[in-house]
Point group: C2
Chain length 421, copies 2
Amino acid sequence: MPDAATALTLQDKLAAAKTASTALATATTEQKHVALLAIVEAVRTGAERILPANELDLANGRENGIGAGLLDRLRLDQARLDGLAEAVEVVVGLDDPVGEVVRGRALPNGLQISQVRVPFGVIGAIYEARPNVTIDIAALAIKSGNAVVLRGGSAASHTNGVLVELLREALVSAGLPADAVQSIDEFGRDGATELMRARGFVDVLIPRGSAQLIQTVVRESTVPVIETGAGVVHIYLDESADEAMAVDIVRNAKVQRPSVCNAVETVLVHSGAAERLLGPVLSALQESQVTIHADERSIGVVPGALPVTDEDYATEHMALELSVRVVDSMDEAIAHIRSFSTAHTESIITNDLCNAERFLREVDSAVVMVNASTRFTDGGEFGFGAEVGISTQKLHARGPMGLPELTSTKWIVRGQGQVRG
Amino acid sequence: MPDAATALTLQDKLAAAKTASTALATATTEQKHVALLAIVEAVRTGAERILPANELDLANGRENGIGAGLLDRLRLDQARLDGLAEAVEVVVGLDDPVGEVVRGRALPNGLQISQVRVPFGVIGAIYEARPNVTIDIAALAIKSGNAVVLRGGSAASHTNGVLVELLREALVSAGLPADAVQSIDEFGRDGATELMRARGFVDVLIPRGSAQLIQTVVRESTVPVIETGAGVVHIYLDESADEAMAVDIVRNAKVQRPSVCNAVETVLVHSGAAERLLGPVLSALQESQVTIHADERSIGVVPGALPVTDEDYATEHMALELSVRVVDSMDEAIAHIRSFSTAHTESIITNDLCNAERFLREVDSAVVMVNASTRFTDGGEFGFGAEVGISTQKLHARGPMGLPELTSTKWIVRGQGQVRG
C-alpha cells in the first residue's frame, strides 16, 4: 500500500483524504480509540522499522551540515518512541469533542435548534523536521474525527515515511480508511504550495515551526489558516512588584526552556522600581548565562550588558538573550507591548490591584497574566492534554489549542413541518 | 471632519481605525448604547441629509443602466430609514458579548485561568450597493466593541458617505472616537485590494454580497476572512415524506423570498415517492410561477419543465427557478448534495426516524434540518437579533452569525508568583 501510494498525484491524495474524512467524521469514539491504541503499540514496538529510517535522515542531515539543534530534534531512540507512544495514550484519555452540544433551544415556533461539534473534515499540517509532530498531529486529528494531510520537513522524510505507514496500518486495523492519513512529502515545495491552495479539499491548515514558515503559509494560503507560535513575550515589572517574585518569574520565564515560544524576550521595568529590582533580576539572569541587551537607563546596572536595539525588541531570540527597558509609566509599557509584541503572552508582576486589572484589560494578547511565569502558556499546563499549538490569531482559536479547537460546529434543526411566515 | 478625512490615505485610515479600536474595546456597554441610540436618532430623523445623497446615487444608477433589483436595494425612503433605525434598536437590546467568561478553572498549581470574550479589534466589511449594510454592520461592530472599516459598492457611495458621517458623529456624541468607523469607498477597487492585504491592521474581513464578490475576497485576502452566503440549498423528499408537508415546505423554501441565500435551489426526491409527491409539489410551484428544471425521470410530471443540467444543479438562482432530480436511495441523495451543495442549508422531509438521524449526521452543512423550511436559516429566526451574515466556512463561525461571532477571546491567568517546574 505505501509503495502504490507513491505513484499517486497530490490531487489524488487530497481527494482520497476528503473521501476518507467522511468515515472518520462518523466514527465512534470507541473505533477511534482502537486506531489510537494501535498507534501506541506500533510506535512503542516499532524501533526496528523506525530507527533505521531515522538513521538515514540523520546521516543525510550530518552530510548536509544541518545544525546540532536540528539534528537533536530529528533524532529518535527507544526512549523518545516511548515518549511519543505515551503522548498518544494521553490523547486517548481526552474527551472526544465530536457530538458535544455547544448550545441549543426551542424557538417560539416549535423548532428545536442545537449547535453540535463536528470535525473540520481534512486538516493540513505543514511543519519542520520533527518526527514527533507527525505522530502528535495525526493522533489529535484522528481523535477529533478529522483526516489529515501531512507535509513535514524534507530532512525527516525517511522517518516520516515509516511513521505514516504505521499510522495508516493502525487505521486499517480499526476498520477505518488508511487514506485518512496522507503524507505529501514526496511532492517537495510545490506540494506544500499546492496544499496551501487546496481550498475545497483542505478545511484548515496549521503551520508549526519557525516564524518564517508560518508567515509563508499565512501569506500564500487560500485555505483558512490557524497561525501559531511566534512569541515576542514581555514581562512588565510594575512599581509595586515583589523582588523575589520578579527574580523567580523572570528567571523561570527566560531560562527554564529558552527555545520555546512562551519564553520571555523583553523585560520592561517601571522607573520607580528599576533601582530596587534590576540589580537582583539581571544578576540572577547573568548567573544563568543570559546575555542582556539593555537600554540607556539600565545598561549600567550589570557589567557586560549590550546596548539594545529596536531589532532586539522585535526578535524572538529562542536563546539565552533578553532585552531590558526602563519605562516611566504603565502607559509606556503598554505602548511598547503594542509596538513589539506578537500578542502571544504578556505578564505583569505587581501588587497593585488597579494596575493588574488595567494590564489584563488593555493588553490584547492571547494570554495575559498577573504574577505568573509566561512559561505557563501551554496546552498541557492548561489541562488540554496534548497540544495542537498556540494560536496567535484572533479567528477561531486563540492561545493554547486543544481538541475542541480542531472541530467546527453545525446547527441541527428539528421541525414538524414549519414554514416561514 | 468628513471633508478633512477625504484627504487621508487609506493607510492613515486603517491606522486610525486600529488606534480607535482600543477605545472601543474598553468602552462600557452603557457607553456603546449611547452611541447606538444616537445612531437610531440620526437615521430616523436624518432624511434631509440622507435622501438627497440617495437620490444622487439613484440618478447615477439609472443613468448607468443598473437593474431594477439593484436600484430597489439602493433606494432609501422614510419607511426604510425607520426600519434601519429599528434594526439598530434591536442591536441595543442584544446582550453585549464582551467580557463574557466562556470557561475557566483553577489549575493544580493554584493558577486561576479564564477565557474571556474580547472584541476582534478592527473588522473590515466589503459589500455591494446596499446602504442598509453600512448601518447594520457598523451597529453590530460598535456593540461588540470593534472598529470597522467599510467598503461599500460604488453605486451607493453618496448615500454611504452621509451615513458614515452620521455614524462618526454618533460615536463622538458618546465620547468615543469617530475613527472607529471608517469608509474607504473613495479609494475604489485598489482600496478594496489594499484592505484585503491589511494584515496587522484588520483582524477579520467579512464579505457580503454576490458569490463572485465573496470568492474574490477569499482568494485575494491575506487577512482572515469569514466566508458568507452563497447557498445552493437542497431539500430531500424521503420515501416517507408527508405530502402536505412536502408541498408546504418546498413552496415556502422556494417562493417566500427567492432572492436570498436560504431559498431552496434543488429538490431531490426518492423514486419510491416520486409518483406520489412530485405532481402536487411541482404543480404548487408552477402556480407560484416557478420554472422547473427537471431530470429525465421527472420531466414528464408537469408540462413546461425544462431539462436540468449539471450547471443548473451548481447554480444559486436567487430567482423562481428550481432543479428537480429523482434518486433511488438516500446514498444517492447525499452524494448529490456532496457534489453540488455549498454546505449552507439542507433539509430532509421524512417520517422515518433512522433516515432523519442519518441525514443530520452525514450531511455536512452549516445547518441541517428535518421537516422544516430552509428559510429558517437566519440570525433573526435563530434568536440572534440582527444578523452579521451566514458563514459557510468551518473556521470560527458556521451558519447564522450573531454578536459573539464578532468577538475573539483571550486567556486571563491570575497567579501568586508561580513558576514552571
